[in-house]
Symmetry: C2
Subunit: 246 residues, 2 copies
DNA sequence: AAAATAGTGTCTGTGAGACAATATCTT
DNA sequence: AAGATATTGTCTCACAGACACTATTTT
């Protein structure tokens, strides 16, 4: 009977469910992603997204947060967003593993440190990972994590275009130039300061002026006003074609 | 040791991986979704998305296509698109089940018939499902399939706005009015025929005129020209604010 | 003063959307 | 002819983007 076949399969099948997290940050105007160096086989010594197996009684999101904390010491300030599930047979040489990938954004990754399953952590340049055509150049990535990172970057750009989440890269109070810098870093382009300012200020219920100005002490220039995001309202916007296609 | 704990967990944990498919179609100008009536517990007699457990050696997508065929007899003409993974503990009373949901579009669902695990199949009105606040009104849906359907509809609208996939609802040759009807059905609104026509014809590499005209025999009116999609090029477009937010 | 950055003003092209007008069919 | 649908034309308004200009700081 089919029902019997199924019950057997569900109880005994050597499948496992894992989670992986792609944490983005911006450092020195470059988009970076958090990676760990694997201590154990398979793919020992390769770089990988933080992640691991899901416990039986925890939610996928809890598992992602827990594994991230265990492997890197990072406690997230912003939300986890589900990206996709990856489950090709053979993506893990040990057994059938389905992994659910999440993305998140961190203001800074200064406090990270390698956990038990990792020999190192790093903030890798997303540009370098995307440009390295093969494992020969740049990072040697474990499993199908190159593909996951590619999808995560695409998704990040999609999100950034249509949702006011760029501020998650920034401190609670920030200038419009800093906000613009997020977009410039993620797409690797230059944006017109005047038009960008007009655009983001025209979005309803997005930015709230604090009245404060940024403390000077830089290269010069008029001090910019500090803004914060309106956390109550959820505003929608689209950035124009200043920003390339995807 | 942690590694040991993990290996035990991965080998013996009573988790299962399933797939579910949300197949959309348009019938009588209404958006419909394919549901099956469950023959077995849990949720016997409830309506559910077609789906089932993944075999150890098949891909998630293959599993989705297989389960759809087994339960409804439907062989898909268009692609499966991954929607999301759903894995809350307790979403299945038997054991921990992670399900990966897929969406697809069918030209018509005339050839479906209930398979072994289902006592019936139906094409349910998406509007009715979304409007029914509770299980009391309308359909009694199994598991968290109400939530999955809500997400699937949101995703369908998102896709339809930014990708030229509306033609998947239609036969190979179709009129612009039929294409407009897809959008009107999915959002439940009326669009301006003149502006819609201009918009879709202005998209590069999207519609190709066949020179043929639709065979008359309707209520009257000038016969419309038949178009087909340019299957080689992948064009991007956005429909304006004729179409509501979500 | 010179350089640098913040912020404002203005112009132009494009495109969405409203709506009128024309074309071609059925009844 | 009347009604219905397809298709074309025209006008207006909003806005993205280019770019000149003003404001306020550091060196």
């Amino acid at each position: 009977m089919k029902a019997d076949r199924r019950r057997r399969r569900a109880d005994h099948s050597p499948m496992a469910v894992a989670v992986d997290v792609a944490v983005f940050t911006i450092e020195k105007k470059r988009l970076k992603i958090l990676l760990v160096k694997r201590r154990n086989d398979p793919f020992r010594g390769h770089w990988a997204l933080p992640g691991g197996f899901v416990d039986v009684d925890e939610s996928l999101e809890d598992a992602a947060a827990r594994e991230l904390l265990e492997e890197t010491g990072l406690e997230l300030s912003s939300h986890l967003r589900q990206l996709a599930a990856y489950g090709d047979p053979g993506r893990d040489p040990r057994m059938r593993v389905i992994t659910v990938a999440y993305t998140s954004i961190a203001r800074d990754l200064d406090s990270i440190s390698a956990g038990s399953d990792a020999t190192a952590v790093c903030r890798a340049s997303v540009q370098r990972i995307l440009e390295s055509a093969d494992a020969s150049t740049g990072f040697r990535l474990a499993f199908d994590h190159k593909k996951i990172i590619e999808d995560a970057v695409k998704n990040l750009r999609l999100q950034l275009r249509s949702a006011p989440i760029a501020s998650e890269f920034l401190p609670p109070k920030f200038t419009i130039a800093e906000l613009r810098g997020v977009y410039e870093s993620v797409w690797g382009v230059q944006l017109d300061p005047a038009n960008f300012r007009r655009k983001v200020l025209s979005v309803e219920s997005f930015l709230i002026p604090t009245g404060e100005r940024i403390p000077p002490g830089r290269e010069g220039g008029r001090p910019a006003e500090l803004y914060r995001v309106n956390s109550s309202a959820s505003s929608r916007f689209t950035l124009g074609h200043q920003i390339p296609e995807s």
